[in-house]
């Protein structure tokens, strides 16, 4: 299938001021394409959650969006520190977020389960010392 949009957003660790800019742009691009508002909302929420995780938990990484006729793919890749126990991290309520993140209203341990719920396909791979890669697919129509 032909790619309609390919966008790459670098995301810096601990950059709370910029956090959410990538997701805002993703939402804007998809809205311009005329994506259905329910799907748009699911992509936006999942994108914001995964972007915040890059800011809060990772050592930096990038968010990649690809759009084709069939749907939207979001990929989050970072350079570390990796997740030691993915099963534990996927559990609702599990969070290692620091004080700064919590003071801004995050760290409920709901992000990963919320991404999984919103995406039609969700996969996560992680290696301690290497990094984490999350792939989400959202079907259009």
């Amino acid at each position: 299938m032909s790619t309609m949009i390919h966008a790459v957003y670098p995301v810096k660790a601990d950059d709370y001021t910029f956090a959410g800019e990538a997701s805002t742009d993703i939402k804007r691009k998809l809205k311009q394409l005329g994506v259905d508002s329910k799907v748009l909302r699911r992509v936006s929420v999942a994108s914001y959650e995964v972007e915040l995780n890059l800011v809060i938990h990772s050592d930096g990484g990038e968010l990649i969006m690809d759009v084709d006729e069939g749907g939207v793919t979001l990929i989050s890749k970072d350079v570390g520190p990796g997740i030691p126990d993915i099963q534990m991290a996927m559990r609702e309520g599990y969070s290692t977020a620091d004080e700064e993140a919590r003071s801004l209203g995050f760290g409920a341990g709901m992000g990963l389960p919320n991404m999984k719920r919103n995406a039609d396909d969700f996969s996560i791979e992680s290696e301690v010392g290497k990094g984490t890669c999350i792939t989400m697919r959202f079907n259009l129509a």
């Binding site: 959410g20 939402k27 929420v45 914001y48 959650e49 559990r91 801004l104 209203g105 409920a108 709901m110």
Partner: protein, 123 residues
Amino acid sequence: MTIQDIVNVLHAKVLCGEEKLSLPAKTACCSDLMSDVLAFVNEKTVLITGLTNPHVMRTADMLDLKCIVFARGKVPTDDMLEQAEEQGLIVMTTKVTAFTACGMLYEAGLRGVPIDWPKEGEA
């Protein structure tokens, strides 16, 4: 109920989005935890919060929410209001605490946003 009714009940001061007060308001939610709002809110609803940082506006934007009520007299910064204006949000501030604001609105007939996830009892 309309957003204007909420303004009246809470004796709130509208900070932006004045031209949209006739929009309907069916439900509300109250939280300072944006993670929870992102996870549990499934429809357009009014957000009541005591938290004032740009991520409150961002969270509302991602969820397509139209109205934020800041409780206990909290006022967002000019930057945040500018952002809200761009997003087309209605923002107001009320002197009463979040608890009291919820109570007053409930009494006036507003109900909590339905939550369908996670299912009760699910770990």
